[in-house]
């Protein structure tokens, strides 16, 4: 049996196909890492200066009729300009740039100044006063430490008589900032504070409600909010920085999202041709007159296919490791992930490698089943192109079934393979995205399909007459 498997692997590695796919994977990896390194989208979305300038240009002719919009756009642009009075890495820059000035008054006097400057009002006195106030604010910010500013912000919110969820959450975030000594800056801890505040708002909105009365999507929203609150709190208290988007760490944590296509392509190409190629070239006759049962010959090929699934994952991993290292270096791989367990509600640290291993175990059933289906189609149709096409259509067609399952409460769909074969949602105490599907159920469905497909394939292969080729 080992010799048969070895023969099959030898044949696979002496065909051109696999090397073409590997070269494509390298190019794909370079492109992926390049996109991560540039943060194209993120920069574009976060920096609204360009957009505001465009809007302003459009509004220039209509500023008499659309005064409010014109002024507010200009105010946004002006605050960015004020930010530029300070150093780029200063806390003042961050505060002004992100518009997180607690005191709404600043917008009032900016409005006054701008309205006057563009000739919408003629109130000289108010203008002068606003100008003085502006200077005052900038001076004040310049001479303040960020701790003073945070205290001031805190006092401001505490003075509010009507404390809604947002103010409560903002206050909690400020307390964390002061407690863990986190200056205003463009870094992951400030992102954590923001995420913490937003998640707390959600959490607070469910406070006092009976969890049993919640709808599914509400329960999920609450769950995600609790997870966010707990993980950000853990990061802040243990000062574990989140790896930047443009890092080997982030690409590794998103490995199966980024490389899914390439792994699937490799699996489909190999599983879809390993039997049918022998039929189309006629070499199947040579194989079947060897002193081994047909089942043994077929299983040798199937085992080789499964080993190639591991090869596909391993080769993508190696390529990412090298290409990612070339782009970002390897330092970021030391940053641990912070994992929240939905069951226990506990938070723990996990190395990038351990996290990757868990994910691999969770996606493996899906890859193995895709390989099994490709293999079955290859054996039954005896046509490489037909089986490859059918498998690809199946994989992407299954998205449609999955969306049907989420949109409608079709209970029968829960027996469908593609709703069950991804075990990633079950990681760390999580649950399936689909109603009525649990971990044991998914294991059962996957095993059932696996055994049935394999059994059918063996029966078909056993009874096949080798026609003229």
């Amino acid at each position: 049996m080992i010799d048969i498997v070895k023969n099959e692997l030898y044949k696979i590695f002496h065909k051109k196909g696999i090397y073409i796919v590997l070269v494509i994977t390298v190019l794909f990896s370079i492109l992926t890492n390049f996109i991560y390194s540039k943060n194209f989208l993120i920069d574009f979305l976060e920096d609204d200066t360009f957009m505001n300038e465009t809007i302003l240009k459009d509004l220039e002719d209509e500023k008499q009729t659309q005064t409010d919009e014109y002024v507010s756009t200009k105010v946004s642009l002006e605050t960015v300009k004020y930010a530029q009075n300070f150093k780029r890495d200063s806390w003042q820059y961050y505060v002004l740039k992100n518009g997180s000035i607690y005191d709404e008054n600043i917008y009032d006097f900016l409005e006054t100044i701008i309205s006057h400057e563009v000739g919408l009002t003629k109130d000289e006195e108010a203008y002068e006063k606003a100008l003085a106030e502006k200077e005052n604010l900038l001076n004040r910010l310049e001479n303040m430490t960020w701790q003073d500013y945070a205290q001031e912000e805190k006092n401001y919110y505490e003075k509010q008589t009507k404390k809604d969820n947002e103010i409560v959450a903002q206050l909690e975030a400020l307390e964390l900032r002061i407690k863990y000594d986190i200056p205003y800056a463009d870094n992951s801890f400030n992102d954590d504070l923001r995420d913490y505040r937003d998640a707390r708002v959600v959490e607070l909105s469910y406070e006092g409600m009976d969890e049993k009365l919640l709808k599914d999507d509400q329960r999920n929203e609450l769950k995600e909010a609790v997870k966010m609150v707990e993980t950000t709190k853990y990061r802040l208290s243990n000062s574990i920085e989140e790896a930047p988007i443009g890092s080997n760490n982030t690409v590794f944590n998103n490995f199966y999202n980024e490389y899914f296509i390439m792994i699937i392509v490799m699996i489909v190409l190999i599983s879809g041709s390993i039997v049918s190629d022998e039929f189309s070239k006629g070499t199947i006759k040579m194989l079947l007159v060897k002193p081994h049962s047909r089942t043994k010959i077929l299983m040798g090929k199937f085992i080789a296919t499964l080993l190639m699934v591991l090869f596909a994952i391993a080769s993508c991993l190696m390529i990412q490791f090298v290409v990612g290292g070339f782009f970002f270096g390897f330092n970021s791989l030391a940053i641990p992930n912070v994992i929240y367990n939905y069951n226990t509600g506990l938070v723990k640290e996990m190395s990038v490698y351990a996290y990757f291993s868990y994910n691999t175990i969770a996606v493996l059933p899906q890859f193995i089943l895709i390989a099994t289906i490709g293999f079955a189609l290859s054996t039954m149709t005896m046509s490489t192109s037909l089986s490859n096409t059918l498998t690809i259509i199946g994989i992407f067609g299954s998205d449609f079934i999955n969306s049907l399952a989420t949109s409608f409460d079709l209970n029968i769909l829960k027996f469908f393979l593609t709703l069950n074969w991804d075990f990633t949602p079950y990681l760390f105490g999580g649950s399936s995205l689909y109603k009525g599907i649990t971990l044991p159920f998914s294991i059962f469905v996957c095993l059932f399909y696996f055994v049935m497909i394999l059994f059918l394939t063996i029966v078909v292969f056993q009874n096949r007459d080798v026609k003229n080729i």
Binding site: G282, V289, P291
Partner: protein
């Protein structure tokens, strides 16, 4: 010793009966020529023997093992080429043989070198098969069939693509294998003149049925004994004497008779004032037997 026994083989594809009641045996040292027009069922019979297709009725025994019930034992000592030499074009000839050796136990490197030498591929064995000519591929196919010392060799159209020298070499090789290695060889071919000098048995199949099977010598003797050429001074009066006589030209005619009748015919001719210069038996080729038995190359 009987190496191959086919008992009443029957096979149908849908409603079409492809093989009807085919039976024949093969013994050690036999070289059986399996001939028949295109579509007669030669390749299908070979596939039934090798277990590549299910047998609807009847049975195949190889070295006394039933091919369907005891496949692994039965196929163990069989080497075969079916339709084409089935080798991997993207691998070298040597690697092809090494892969095949892996399916058998205890085939050593030396044995591979031995069969390569046997088929005369030493100089090109490390080249990729895709660079081989059809003849070289055929030789490689024969090499892979011989690798594991089979005692039954089944070759489907092995001379396809071989040049005359290659055919001569193959003929010698097969004769030697049958004699020295005590192999039984089943060989199908449409090139009848090749089989004639190679086989000791012949089996003619048409429309899925065996129409003639015999030792090639007996078969020819049977035919040889029946047609005689007569050389005479004039054939003008012959048809009056023998209606069935075939007039070849002014001085030659042929007659289908037995040897015992010859003296009577000669004295009859002499008494009719016909001078007889020579009487000789017709030299029958396998091709003529084949055409007589099958009525030409008709595909149903």
């Amino acid at each position: 010793m009987k190496v191959l026994e086919c008992h009443n083989l029957y096979k149908r594809f849908g409603k079409k009966e492809v093989i009807k009641d085919v039976s024949f045996d093969l013994e050690t040292g036999d070289i059986l020529g399996f001939i028949g027009p295109n579509g007669a069922g030669k390749t299908t019979t070979i596939k039934l023997i090798l277990g590549l297709q299910k047998i609807d009725k009847g049975s195949v025994l190889i070295n006394s093992h039933d091919i369907e019930k005891d496949f692994v034992k039965a196929i163990e000592k069989v080497g075969a080429i079916v339709e084409n030499p089935d080798v991997y074009l993207y691998l070298s000839g040597k690697k092809n043989l090494e892969l095949i050796a892996n399916y058998y136990r205890g085939i050593k490197k030396e044995r591979i070198a031995e069969v390569v030498k046997l088929v005369g591929l030493e100089n090109r064995i490390n080249d990729k098969v895709s660079k081989y000519s059809l003849g070289m591929r055929q030789r490689l196919g024969i090499a892979q069939a011989l690798l594991h010392h089979p005692n039954l060799l089944i070759l489907d159209e092995p001379t396809n693509g071989l040049d005359p020298e290659g055919i001569r070499e193959l003929r010698q090789l097969l004769k030697r294998l049958a004699k020295e290695e005590k192999m039984a060889i089943l060989i199908s071919s449409h090139n009848l003149s090749e089989l004639e000098s190679l086989c000791n048995k012949v089996c003619i199949i048409q429309n899925g049925q065996i129409v003639e099977q015999n030792d090639i010598k007996d078969l020819k003797k049977k035919m040889v004994g029946s047609i005689y050429y007569f050389e005479v001074n004039s054939t003008s009066k012959i048809n009056k004497l023998y209606k069935e006589a075939k007039i070849m030209n002014d001085t030659t005619f042929s007659l289908t008779v037995s040897r015992d009748e010859l003296p009577d015919i000669i004295s009859n001719l002499l008494s009719s004032k016909i001078k007889v210069y020579a009487v000789y038996p017709k030299n029958v080729t396998l091709e003529e037997v084949f055409i007589e038995k099958t009525g030409g190359n008709i595909i149903d």
